[in-house]
Symmetry: C2
Subunit: 819 residues, 2 copies
Amino acid sequence: MNTGYTIRVITAQHGGKEDLVTFLLCVSYVILSLPLSPSLPGGYNEYGTSGVGGRAAGVNGNGPTKLVDPLEDPVPGVGTYEDFNTIDWVREKSKDRDRHREITSKSRQSTVALLHSVSDAFSGWLLMLLVGLMSGALAGGIDISAHWLTDMKEGVCLNGFWFNHEHCCWTSNETTFQERDRCPQWKSWAELITGATEGPFAYIVNYLMYIVWALLFSFLAVTLVRAFAPYACGSGIPEIKTILSGFIIRGYLGKWTLIIKTITLVLAVSSGLSLGKEGPLVHVACCCANILCHLFTKYRKNEAKRREVLSAAAAVGVSVAFGAPIGGVLFSLEEVSYYFPLKTLWRSFFAALVAAFTLRSINPFGNSRLVLFYVEFHAPWHLLELAPFILLGIFGGLWGALFIRANIAWCRRRKSTRLGHYPIIEVLVVAGFTALLSYPNSYTRMSGAELISELFNDCSLLDSSQLCGYQQVSCPSNISETGVGNTLADRPAGPGLYTALWQLALALVFKMMITVVTFGMKVPSGLFIPSMAVGAIAGRLLGVGMEQLAYYNHDWIIFKGWCSPGADCITPGLYAMVGAAACLGGVTRMTVSLVVIMFELTGGLEYIVPLMAATMTSKWVADAFGREGIYEAHIRLNGYPFLEPKEEFEHNSLAVDVMRPRRADPALAVLTQEGMTVGEVESLVESTHYSGFPVVVSQESQRLVGFVLRRDLLISIDNARQRQEGVVSASQVVFTEHAPSQAPDAPPPLRLRGILDLSPFTVTDHTPMDITVDIFRKLGLRQCLVTHNGRLLGIITKKDILKHMAQIANRDPDSILFN
Amino acid sequence: MNTGYTIRVITAQHGGKEDLVTFLLCVSYVILSLPLSPSLPGGYNEYGTSGVGGRAAGVNGNGPTKLVDPLEDPVPGVGTYEDFNTIDWVREKSKDRDRHREITSKSRQSTVALLHSVSDAFSGWLLMLLVGLMSGALAGGIDISAHWLTDMKEGVCLNGFWFNHEHCCWTSNETTFQERDRCPQWKSWAELITGATEGPFAYIVNYLMYIVWALLFSFLAVTLVRAFAPYACGSGIPEIKTILSGFIIRGYLGKWTLIIKTITLVLAVSSGLSLGKEGPLVHVACCCANILCHLFTKYRKNEAKRREVLSAAAAVGVSVAFGAPIGGVLFSLEEVSYYFPLKTLWRSFFAALVAAFTLRSINPFGNSRLVLFYVEFHAPWHLLELAPFILLGIFGGLWGALFIRANIAWCRRRKSTRLGHYPIIEVLVVAGFTALLSYPNSYTRMSGAELISELFNDCSLLDSSQLCGYQQVSCPSNISETGVGNTLADRPAGPGLYTALWQLALALVFKMMITVVTFGMKVPSGLFIPSMAVGAIAGRLLGVGMEQLAYYNHDWIIFKGWCSPGADCITPGLYAMVGAAACLGGVTRMTVSLVVIMFELTGGLEYIVPLMAATMTSKWVADAFGREGIYEAHIRLNGYPFLEPKEEFEHNSLAVDVMRPRRADPALAVLTQEGMTVGEVESLVESTHYSGFPVVVSQESQRLVGFVLRRDLLISIDNARQRQEGVVSASQVVFTEHAPSQAPDAPPPLRLRGILDLSPFTVTDHTPMDITVDIFRKLGLRQCLVTHNGRLLGIITKKDILKHMAQIANRDPDSILFN
């Protein structure tokens, strides 16, 4: 692994970063020293262990048993889950409360136990601190490496190949302020290979080198992902949403995923593909959190507690991606989390702050600013400008809806046709095509983040950027009249600006097309930056248009009074920002968190109203075409069992319409609390594929006693057959408290009350489905039994509900793959 | 009512505020034109109608029936609640979904219905807009009036008595920048009465006038509250928390409460009592929301939907109190709300923004700033300063815990002794005492908000405030060496500052004492400002101490390197801010929302870490002495049925331990689904006081069919006896779908399946109480039935749970008064 080394080399330039390097090395050590092969019974180290090649942790692994307290957990494996299954939130939370009660009651007995209790109480905060530090450090490393590799496509520094363009020229004394990024130490590839700095030949050499590097980076990225961690591809947010809702995907947040995702993310971003690193940073932060959970028993052993940490980690991811801790917490709350108690709110906030400050102390942008795009606008906005802002919102909503449709259609095509068999070729073709088309246009050649930064920027008089190519107006005739002499006044567009506008328009079309095919390829790819880039370009175009309209028609009634000549009345950068928010909102359907993230970028409450207007419009417009955001659409595409917490269940069906067995089906498979033999139970279990069985008083009365899970039943019977003497197929299985009397020569009964859930959730057959869905969502249930007048009638699982919902929406109910 | 007039006169000074005045008049008109006496069946206009004298809305009022759709609601009154009762969230939400489904299905039939459906969808947003506008306008009016009346205590403007001190001198041309608030038009009372401006005689006259005005204002405030709206006293936040959790207190959010609270709040703040207007503004905003809910059927008729609006209104209240919209939303989420779906998050955010902008356009502080305390610090903080910040956190926590204990003890004393019988005398004594002691000390004489503002302020060189009475150091010898010439460098304290410090120390002791007896009196009183003032004083004292320590001992190892002479290394204003946050955190146990509110005041992420450290320490320290914040303590004091959503239920009891009937009690009172006569049912209902009865198949089987509410049962039987022919005491009551066959000469049966809840919630007797409590909290249940092996065993109500929790905590279980 050379990550530690790479980061060391690069950060060494930043001076005084020894602490960071030491920290990173420690982190790498911790990661690498974690056990590579799964050694605990399944479920204990769920995500962290496997990952290489997607190998799932062995469910009945016979590893060292020292961690299994025989008193705490009599039969190893009972109470754990299989891969691609849904957890039972109620059971997990109850388990944690039991654990906590035990620690509290013990703490009164001895000082050691008291210390244990205190350390247990603070372990959550410590974990958050570690997650913040590690994610912040990793994000800093990714930023620095991506910057370096991106510059590598254009040239190399003679002082040392590990310098990026900017740092290379910082050390040079020969540069002036104006030509900061031109210095003799930095050689473009054409200069280095042929010696030519200008002319068509040098251009072609640079062009070719650009394409070669892009192909190389993307090839490396896709190969690494394919070879070591298939889960490292994509943005990861759909899967994290599903995991947070209670699903289990082993290895998805493991250390190999973390290592490979970190490396390939840098490569993918540097290759110039139309993707961002912000979404994947959420995945990276969640991997960090999951790995660090292994240091604390409380979180290692409990699926619900771990999900609280992962929710906080999602906040951390956005916090480091944009430098917006509050926005990050709201993102986690609004967009990804399922169960978000207040405690998690406090902890996420703490972790997000720690991460943001770690990132700032690494200072990857070299400006000691926390935020990715720092903007400062000078002019307020006028109420009439709400019209173009709402227009941008409509554009954002339309583009969001269109993008989701096109992208899902393309991904479905990839899944169903031969296209999906050649992921490496696909990536290479798209990367090559992107590089080929983007090099000639300076707005597509620069990275997405740079482009957005430039589009958000307000033009000052000194600005040499093409976007600020206005004509210099010496002194408008009426300045003396109005007395408003503003150095930032609206000016007529010059030829430079017109060129820039054409290039931007082309870039807009190109970005809109290429992003559709890029998102979903087998490389890490985020959607935040590409969506924002599309919106920012559209916004800037509209902004400049408005500005020119106001300049040339300042006597129109709508401009009168607030946009007289010589006034700085329209800020195209603000339009770009509003457009970016609108497009991102249309694609992801975020609202509050998006506005808060943008608010943290500008730091001014002033611009909240335009942002709010645009994101709300965008959400409403996009919702009119389909209520799913891109992440929900991808969840559905993958068939994960995700019960959307935002949408209301509108249909008026009853529990009896959804439950199994249906009227034509055979009767429900139930166990009786006594009277069945081990052989009978085994044959019943084997003849069905259900994950659990209700236990009733007797077949005749059908009065419910409890519920037993298939997995627990099988493990317990296996265990009893192996360890308990005399348990044979003819042994009675007993779920009652006291064993019934039986013939003296009968084999000893197998008592299984310990694995029986005595408090299964029940609803009556007349319960409306909207209430049932609400119960499932709020309590995080996996199944619920249906009764009629006290008799057991059937069962509803999460999958049944999702299938029912798919049916109502005229979709294929068999697209729900997992339970 | 002269509120409209007062506000008009005052706002007229602000120029171009005709829109506002028009708006306010419209609002007043809307309020006053709402029906004064309750005319609808109870529950339809729950809070808005009554209020005068706490008169509860008539439960069986026979008002106009035009609003009761006979098809929608066959028996008027069924499905409503009595006063001081808990609502059933599940039923309310289900009702709303039914309504929504109906509208949606109708909307496909005609254009009118489609328009109705669209307007229904947008009514929530419209309501939010109105709430924001109205609350923002009211808050602006309150700010302006309180400012005016406060100045009235010291003198009067000759240009017009309606000018406050600042505005009086604005219009004067004779003042210079330095002496902005000294102008000939403004006369102190001594000047006006005796003509003397200086000397002990003038001082005494002013002193006396100050006390007289304070007594007058407080007398008016307490008399108005006593006479017209007893619910207008206090901060209102404990009651709003309880209402949001699903409790009903009729008249608490009515229009009389709103009108009286607005007026008396201004009077109470102006009287100089140690109280703030920030907490009561939450109550005012909630009243606005509740009143405006009457304009929309969707919200008028549904208790759950109304509570969503009230949650948003709580956010609006804090948004206008501090000018912190995001902090307000988080306050609502963290501190007061119970059910806070994402939709409410978006809407609260919108309403909070609208309110903040309305307030800004009124511009009550005259500085076109949104925030109450605008601060700008120039120096960053050093890591070592975390030690004093944490010290402030400890102080805040200790003060918070101490304050809660002392205040609750005092309030309990007021409730149980004769003290409570003389609220007017109590208020007058406290107000007189406060005025007497606070006049001589300039830091207690100024209002709490002004004091905090001054304490937060960073001293610039030109600052003439006593707190900035540093010695002028011309040029420290080593400035040329270090090259750090800072105009804001730390300087030695001068005599002015020493005087200020003594006065501040006295003010601290005074505020700490007087706030304990002030909070809880029968006037509107908020706790935010007094708590913040205590913390700000303590923080400023510590800050100045640190500054002087660093100045005189800059060679100490801890100051070396960052606090050399001539550097501006310690900002006492920041300490004041951290102290304020710590004390407020200790009293209310807010964390994230508090930090975000403070962040919105400064606008810099820089200072989040000190704030976070202090508030977290404060919370932990205070929690060690008792886990309740001041609001929860007051809820418990009043015996409201509030199920704290933050705390985990730690005890390991089972549902069977909590349910009624207990082992020694008589059997559970149940109805059978057929076979009982109307007379039998009535005698059963009358012989018990339960709010509802389970319906079983038969007395022998005890298999559960459904649950029927006492109120619904009584109303239906009454209704049937009046309107349905042949229903007599001997009629059979039938809950089954098909009426059983009976003798031809028997009276017709009374069919009551319509009021039977066929999907009552059940848990088994073995369900751990922690899970049961979780179900109650998350689903908002009122009661839950307990079964064993399919047979009905008992019932658990919210009150039973609260009593059980009180018992575990060794408190009196009978302190829970309501169900």
